[in-house]
């Protein structure tokens, strides 16, 4: 079978550890096809940190689902993700007997990472995109 061409738009893959449950992709999606759920969890204070430090909490991703019966493959979610958690994957053969089975849950989205292509090198003279602002605190 022929190699998929660069920038193929097959499925959308999720790098779960990069997702901060910020909901930006859900709210930017013109088709309303992404559903996210998560919860806040307290982080135990680090070894040697000040005893009166404010307790920290982090958001844990519980559910990430893309309804491919609605998705129009615009890629806005991928473009808009500030933490590089979403990628175009090359998989295309995920047809299903009905619309319910076209809802891809987190496990499948993560599995599709194997089909993400290494980006093509930039054209000579291309402008390099500025590094997005880092989160406050340690880099």
């Amino acid at each position: 079978m022929a190699e998929p061409p660069p920038r193929s738009r097959g499925a959308i893959a999720l790098r779960e550890e990069n997702c901060t449950v910020c909901m930006i992709c859900v709210r930017e999606c013109p088709d309303w096809c992404i559903t996210i759920d998560g919860h806040a969890e307290h982080v135990p204070p680090e070894e040697g940190s000040a005893p009166n430090r404010r307790p920290r909490s982090t958001t844990v991703l519980d559910r990430f689902a893309i309804d491919f019966s609605l998705c129009m493959y615009c890629g806005i979610c991928i473009e808009t993700c500030p933490f590089d958690a979403l990628f175009w994957a090359t998989d295309y053969a995920y047809d299903a007997p009905g619309p319910r089975e076209l809802i891809a849950e987190k496990g499948r989205l993560v599995d599709w990472l194997d089909g993400v292509l290494v980006p093509e090198p930039l054209d000579p003279g291309a402008e390099i995109a500025p590094e997005p602002a880092r989160r406050r605190g340690r880099a």
Partner: protein, 160 residues
């Protein structure tokens, strides 16, 4: 963007120049009441393609059906979907919408009825547990295209 008074002659010229395979005709709602018409032509011999575009004069634009008969169907659909009149069209009947349909569904200001009955997934706050834990005065995110009758306003009334 071609001047609308030279629309038909320019497309005709492109056809006689070899771009004689008509692919499609469509309309873009540019906002503020401006509509532009796009036609896509192929040259099978020259293996090239051509996009031509003009802006409608108000809600009127000359029909290409005399030059490209196949464009007639596309213009019929464009007319009902965008409320555009194709002047000189040989068959101006509606194509897809049922009789008596009110409005032009592909205009940007047409309310998306389905959005009134489906819950927007973006309204969900994953780390909040009910309205009680929501910080007071914080603006709720609002979705685009939700019709007015759908009552998008949240219980705290800060939608906007």
């Amino acid at each position: 963007m071609l001047p609308v008074d030279r629309w038909v002659e320019t497309v005709e010229r492109a056809v006689t120049d070899g771009f004689d395979f008509f692919d499609f005709l469509s309309v873009v709602d540019e906002g503020e009441g401006r509509l532009s018409v796009v036609v896509h032509l192929w040259s099978l011999r020259g293996r090239g393609h051509l996009f031509l575009r003009t802006e409608a004069d108000g809600l009127q634009v000359p029909s290409l059906a005399g030059v490209l008969p196949g464009a007639g169907w596309h213009e019929r659909e464009a007319a009902e979907m965008f409320g555009l009149e194709f002047l000189g069209a040989p068959d101006p009947r509606p194509l897809l919408l049922p009789d008596g349909f009110d409005g032009h569904p592909l205009r940007k200001d047409f309310p998306l009825a389905a959005r009134g009955v489906v819950e927007w997934p973006g309204a969900h706050e994953p780390t909040e547990h009910g309205p009680a834990s929501r910080p007071p005065g914080r603006r709720r995110p609002a979705a685009a295209g939700v019709p007015d009758w759908a009552g998008q306003t949240e219980e705290d009334g800060t939608h906007g």
